[in-house]
């Protein structure tokens, strides 16, 4: 699986606590929302990175094992992301979305999270365009009907819904809260 990241940290061959210490240092160079891949050979690092993310408020996306190398994926959190301020008026909750997907009506689901987040779990059939690329790529959506936009917590999808409505898209819905509470079917691309 190819996962797009903003930074790769090589912590291979390092023993505990070095992968954590390096991760901490490297994280300060990332912008909020960016994704880092940490390559490690320390077998304890999977549990440690996960616990570290929980304690520091960053988002642990998952780990991929390639031979003896563990690739951990973290997304740097931003303070405002945790408290969404919805301004796009047309919202839909997760249960209603699940019913729509199961129904016969044709709908499109646009996932605006980073490709690494999408890779570790997304709604089957959803399109992935990260919020940061939406301005350049919105033409890809021109044939989409009934756009339902989702992210992790409802904040990025709100911004995306506003952007697309401004571009002239009709019937755009922001799905809240988002993938962090999605209990329906999930595809992984690795």
């Amino acid at each position: 699986m190819e996962i797009t990241v903003n930074k790769v940290l090589d912590a291979k061959g390092l023993a505990c606590p070095m992968p954590i210490v390096k991760t901490k240092k490297e994280m300060t160079t990332l912008e909020p929302g960016q994704v880092m891949e940490i390559q490690a050979t320390d077998k304890g690092s999977t549990a440690d990175i996960k616990a570290w993310a929980e304690n520091t408020g960053h988002q642990y996306l998952g780990t991929v094992e390639e031979g003896s190398v563990l690739k951990h994926y973290l997304r740097k959190a931003s303070a405002e992301e945790e408290k969404p301020e919805t301004t796009h008026p047309d919202i839909m909750n997760l249960d209603d979305l699940l019913m729509k997907i199961k129904g016969n009506e044709k709908i499109s689901v646009l996932d605006v999270r980073e490709p690494a987040e999408y890779a570790f779990g997304h709604i089957p059939g959803s399109i992935n365009i990260p919020l940061g690329e939406l301005e350049q790529r919105f033409e890809e959506l021109n044939n989409a009907e009934n756009l339902h936009i989702i992210c992790r917590s409802g904040n990025r999808s709100d911004l995306a819904a506003q952007k697309l409505t401004a571009k002239g898209f009709k019937n755009v819905k922001n799905v809240v809260p988002g993938m962090k509470e999605w209990a329906g079917p999930v595809d992984k691309s690795h």
Partner: protein, 129 residues
């Protein structure tokens, strides 16, 4: 999170126990303070901390440290300093051992028991090594 550690022993294994937990905690945004007392003072002594003894009969682990690529103690100590770990040398033990502040690495504080207690009174984790 706030972590208060007492380092009271001066062997190489003791150094790893103390500084691994301290640096991992500091890297996880914890406020960390270590009180060095009795043999624990070796861990921050300018010369002694570069050549700490291994417990008798465990010398064969030397190879294991190399194989597992464990950083030398002095690197962990300077990393702890960089990460903002507060290191307090025990004044009373320094007097007993005729040691002065300049015998120790840069950036340490010297204090008594109450200095440590004041730091530790609202700690979430307290450890003794």
């Amino acid at each position: 999170m706030k972590v208060a550690i007492i380092a009271a022993n001066g062997g190489m294994f003791d150094a790893y126990k103390v500084f691994n937990i301290a640096t991992a905690a500091a890297a996880t945004d914890a406020e960390v303070g270590i009180f060095f007392t009795f043999e624990g003072l070796n861990l921050i002594h300018k010369e002694a901390h570069k050549n700490l003894p291994m417990p008798p009969g465990t010398e064969h682990f030397q190879e294991g440290f190399k194989k597992a690529n464990i950083p030398p103690v002095h690197e962990l100590v300077s990393m702890a300093g960089e990460l903002g770990v507060k290191m307090i040398a025990c004044q009373m033990t320094m007097d007993v051992m005729s040691l002065e502040k300049e015998h120790f690495i840069e950036g340490i504080d010297v204090g008594g028991a109450v200095t440590f207690l004041t730091f530790a009174k609202d700690a979430d984790v307290t450890l003794t090594f």
